[in-house]
Each structure stands twice: as structure tokens, then as C-alpha cells.
Symmetry: C2
Subunit: 330 residues, 2 copies
DNA sequence: AAAAGCGGGTTAATCGTTTAGCTCCATATG
DNA sequence: CATATGGAGCTAAACGATTAACCCGCTTTT
């Protein structure tokens, strides 16, 4: 390049990075770029600027629509800004989670977006010594002050449960996520709070702690059906457990909503696939991804306004035909 | 590092890259690594070796289990080998497809794994001027000699259709993918070939060309139900169209398999979710991902044996209860 | 005993950028 | 007219590794 134009590399660097260059030179460099098909070598640039123009995305699993839809939109925003997205799936393995986090840092990513599982603040602190931006999605890590983008899980669960209550349901089976996951705690809180607000007693037997996998949705639904006074409604609180619950209900030939009313989570496709169409809590996956992506871009540009910001995005309760109104029935 | 040990950087480089170093020095360097918490700067290394230790993965959509499961296993293999996976979702947009491909190359990836849509050989040739390894998954690009890893679509479709035929079905609705996609062509070939082998006539009205989206599965299923002599069985040939088909059948309250027999594709979760459980053609997603990943690793190591290799992986026909045996019925 | 071989080290160039600091020249200012 | 001012370009040093070329001294070979 320098040779072709007869200019020094410094001038060319100026041209590329928008410095002052004479029009005539500007033209000749532009021409050279075309002819030599010049592309900046981002690696060399990265060495100098200590920026790799990539961000790492660390997620628990890549085979769940919820996660991948978010990732897809993160990737979209980042790519528009010239940033690459290095993805790491830790397969819900706490060991891998830390390993892959280190791996990402080894690749000198400029920022990290994490959907954490078992990661703890201390550990994070140790692994991430340079202060690159970290954004959590869906869940946060206690004691680690950082931006978080998540759905408003508490209200999501509150209003779904409230919907059941106002339709006359009093015994509502609740298939919850793991006790140690923040999202799950929030969803449980919503369930509990609405019971309090409506002065309803809580029957612990109706609360099942699953592990967010199909299997547990399946097993706990069966358990719920088997207790002495089975619930008149079941609320499954994530994508996979919704699938499992439906499998169990189908297997037992339980009629929805005649015998049991049902509300699921996330699984918007599923909603219309089974008969009758299911009422579903829908998380704003696209919005979560885009918000996380653009927040990351802001942080990468050095804008620390509002740090650490906790962004809760509204969920939607999609009403279909899987809930029976028994409020009139005595 | 060099300062700490009193050795030259060259010696340290040898240590890192496995050259001959005196035991005593080896120890002291090892100690220095610990104390200084030294990590090789892959960017600097990349500048010299012209390797970024990252592989680009270009896919049409990140919100389909089929794709993401594959990506997840690709990522797994690559990560084990120290390679990062930069992902790009082109959202089934041919424009974006080329743009993101260039983007990936701009990030100096060492190799590229593509699930192509509209990309053509010529275009590819132009974009990829340096001869980095390219591996196609699921579909190939005509005229571009490169490794391909895919499911054996022809046989998959052949045996699913054959299964229907041997159960007495003669009019089999076939919801095919787009005419210009190789995978879809292969699946169609299987359908046609088995008809030939069994000396059955083909009714063009039973073949619907969808676009691999839910919507088209839904619409074409309805169309199939509406023709004068509707098919006794329907075979949907991808994940999304299987969902759509089931939605349509549900909406029309068509009983499976009493009124219509059904075989779906890929959607293994769905299989048990609906009543009755669906028979499904299952692609070996994990195997596709792992094969593509390790093939990429081999190519990156310079092993060109068998190039270009076209790897077809066996699919499985998962038999459940959605097909009625009418071979005895006259 | 001299030559050859080799293990283990060093030096210095290099990869392709960015950037601080300098020079040069033209224009504006007092 | 002498002096600031500042635009545009250049030089050269970095960034942190790899690597070719070379050197030293010990062992082995003849």
C-alpha cells in the first residue's frame, strides 16, 4: 500500500482512521485500496490497540430456543458494529463454565456476555482481572456488580398465577426451577406474592423444584397428578419443563383444560401445536438480545452511564385456551 | 517474563512451543509463568503466525434446534483444540450471507464452516481468495469443491416413504423444501425413487414445495387436506414444516393416524408432545457437528487426505404411533 | 588431537498496524 | 517583515510474539 501510493504508512493509517489527508492523496489511496483490495489486518491493529473487536458469549446450552434467539440478536447488533461474537456453550457444566470463560479471555475478547449457572463472584473476579465489560443475561451473579439484562420474572410469574386465581383456581401446581438460580427464585416469589396478595394459603406440596429440563417437567407433573388433592391448574416455568409437563399430561390422557388448566413458559411454538392451544408466558427474547448487545456496545465505547444497570424487560402473557374459568362453578 | 527469568524471549518462546530447554531453565520459566500469571497473547502470536485460532461458522438461522445442536458440537470440538468459534447468523437473507462471510474473513478466521443458502461457487471463490479450509454442512454449493458433511437425505426420505408404502399407503402427501436447495432435492429424490421402485404412480398434486418455515408446513398441509382425493399420509420434511403441519392437522381436528398418517422430520421433542407420538426422521445432529468439527481440525493441521470428502451420515427413522397400517384393509 | 555434531542460548528481524513527535510549508497576525 | 499557527506528511518506536541465523562449549568420532 505505502509503496503503491508513495506515501508513508502513517499517512495511510490516518486515512483509514479518519485523519486529515489531502484530497489528492485521499483519492490515490482510495484507488490503491481498490486495486490492491486492501483490508486492514485486524490482528495487527488489535496488537497495537489491545482490542480484538470480538466479544465472548458464554451460555449454558445452545439447544434451547430461548438462549439461541437471544444470542442471535446479540450477534446481530455486534456484527453491525464490526464486532465478532465468539460463542461458548458450557453444556450446563459448572466446570466447563469456568474453563470456557478463561478460554474466552485467552482469546482476548473485548467484552463478555454471560448467562451464568454456578459461577460465583469471587471466581469471576479472579478470572476477569482486566476490567472488560461484563453483562449478564437472564440471571445475575450475587456480589458481582455488573449490568444485567433479564425478563421481569417476578411479575411474569405473578400475573400468570394471578390469571389462574382470577379464573377461580385455588390449588395451583407450580413447577419451579432450581432453588439456587436467581430466575427461578424470582418466579417463585411471584407465585408466593400473589398468593399473599389474594390471601390464599400456600400448599408446599404443590411446589416442585425442577432442574429446568424436560425430564423434571415430566416427572413433577406426574407427581402433582398423583398427590391426594391434585391441583386444578399447573404452571410450568420454563421452556423445557413445559414440554415435559405436556408429555406427562398427554401420557395420562388428562384433558386440558377440562381436568387440569395449564400455563407454560417461553415455548411459543408449542403453544399452537397441542390441543387446545396453550396459554404461555412469553419472554421478550429478541429484546433481551438486542438490549444486551447495544448495552455492550455502549460499554465498549466507554460509556458507563447508569453502571451497573439492571434492566428488567416486560414479559407477555399469551392467552389461549388451556385455562378453564371455574370461578362461576361452585 | 524475560526480565524475571533473566533469559531471552527466544528461549521462552521455545519453552512455550516445546523446544529444547534446560531443566533448570524450564523450572524457572515455569515458576515465572505462575508468579506473573503469564498467558500467551494470541493476538501477537497471530500476527506472526498468521493464524487467529478461530473458525467462522456461518448459518442461516440460530433459532432452529437442528442448526444450533450442530453448532454446539462444532464449538465443542473446536474449543477442545484451542480454537474459538465465531458465529454469524445470516437470518436466511442472501444479502447478509455474503456480507457476513466477508465479515468473518475480515476477522481472519483460519477456517469456515458454512450452511449455505444462496451462495454461489463464483461468489465464494471471489470472497475466499486465500485458501483457508471451507466445510459445508447440511448443504453443498455446486461447483465449489470442498468438504461436505450432511445427512443422507435421499435415503432418509426413501425409507420414511417406504415405511408408509409398506403400511399400505399409496397417496402420500410430501411437503418438500425449496426447489433450489440441495437437501430438499435429495429428499424429493428419495420420495420419487421409492415410488419408482414400488412401481407407483406419482401424483404431482401431492408434492408441495414449501420454504422450510412453519407457515408453509401449515398452509400446504391444509392444501393437501383440501384436494379432491386427499392423501392418506403426509410426510413433512423439516423441523419447522413438521410443526406447521401438526398445527394445521390440529386445527382441522384431523385424527392421527386414523384419518391421516404422518411422519415428521428432525423434531424429536415434538414427537412425544403430541398425541399420538409422532414417527420422525431424525438427523444425527450431534454427529454432523462433531464430524464437521474434527474434519475442520484435520484440515487446519494441513491434512488434506480425501479432499474433497463428501460425508453422508445415516439418519434414523423413529417409529411411533402416527402411522396407521392399512395394508390389511381393502 | 582435530573435526564434526549438537544441545541450548542469544540476537535481531519481522508480522501490520498505531501514534508520539518532528519537519516543512503556507497562511494569518501584529 | 518577523512570528505564530496549524495542516499534512514523515520517521521511528512500539505492540508481543516467532524464527532464522549464529554462537558457544561439550561430547563423540576418526
Amino acid at each position: 500500500m505505502a509503496k503503491y501510493t508513495g506515501l508513508s504508512v502513517a499517512t495511510i493509517s490516518k486515512y483509514i482512521n479518519g485523519g486529515n489527508v489531502l484530497d489528492s492523496n485521499r483519492d490515490s489511496i482510495g484507488e490503491a485500496v481498490k486495486i490492491l483490495d486492501y483490508k486492514v489486518n485486524e490482528i495487527a491493529r488489535g496488537l497495537k490497540t489491545r482490542k480484538s473487536k470480538t466479544v465472548g458469549v458464554l451460555i449454558p446450552k445452545l439447544d434451547s430456543i430461548f438462549t439461541t434467539t437471544i444470542v442471535s440478536h446479540i450477534e446481530g447488533v455486534l456484527q453491525e458494529n464490526g464486532y465478532g461474537t465468539i460463542i461458548c456453550d458450557y453444556r450446563r457444566d459448572p466446570g466447563l463454565e469456568a474453563v470456557k470463560l478463561e478460554f474466552l479471555l485467552g482469546k482476548s475478547v473485548d467484552g463478555i456476555i454471560i448467562m451464568p449457572l454456578a459461577l460465583e463472584a469471587e471466581q469471576l473476579q479472579k478470572i476477569i482481572k482486566n476490567d472488560i465489560p461484563v453483562i449478564f443475561i437472564d440471571r445475575s451473579v450475587k456480589g458481582f456488580g455488573s449490568d444485567v439484562v433479564m425478563a421481569d420474572n417476578l411479575n411474569a410469574s405473578y400475573s400468570a398465577t394471578e390469571y389462574l386465581i382470577t379464573r377461580g383456581h385455588r390449588r395451583i401446581g407450580f413447577i419451579c426451577g432450581p432453588r439456587d438460580i436467581h430466575t427461578a427464585q424470582e418466579r417463585l416469589k411471584g407465585y408466593l406474592r400473589v398468593h399473599g396478595d389474594y390471601r390464599l394459603k400456600i400448599d408446599e406440596a404443590l411446589i416442585k423444584y425442577g432442574d429446568y429440563e424436560i425430564e423434571s417437567g415430566y416427572n413433577y407433573t406426574k407427581e402433582l397428578l398423583d398427590i391426594l388433592k391434585p391441583p386444578a391448574a399447573i404452571f410450568a416455568t420454563n421452556y423445557e419443563m413445559t414440554i415435559g409437563a405436556i408429555m406427562a399430561l398427554n401420557e395420562r390422557s388428562v384433558k386440558i383444560p377440562d381436568e387440569v388448566s395449564f400455563i407454560g413458559f417461553d415455548n411459543i411454538h408449542l403453544a399452537d401445536l397441542v390441543k387446545p392451544p396453550l396459554s404461555i408466558v412469553v419472554q421478550p427474547m429478541r429484546q433481551i438480545g438486542e438490549t444486551a448487545g447495544s448495552l455492550m456496545m455502549r460499554r465498549l465505547k466507554g460509556d458507563r452511564t447508569g453502571f451497573p444497570s439492571i434492566i428488567r424487560l416486560k414479559t407477555e402473557l399469551l392467552i389461549k385456551d388451556s385455562v378453564r374459568d371455574i370461578s362461576g362453578v361452585v
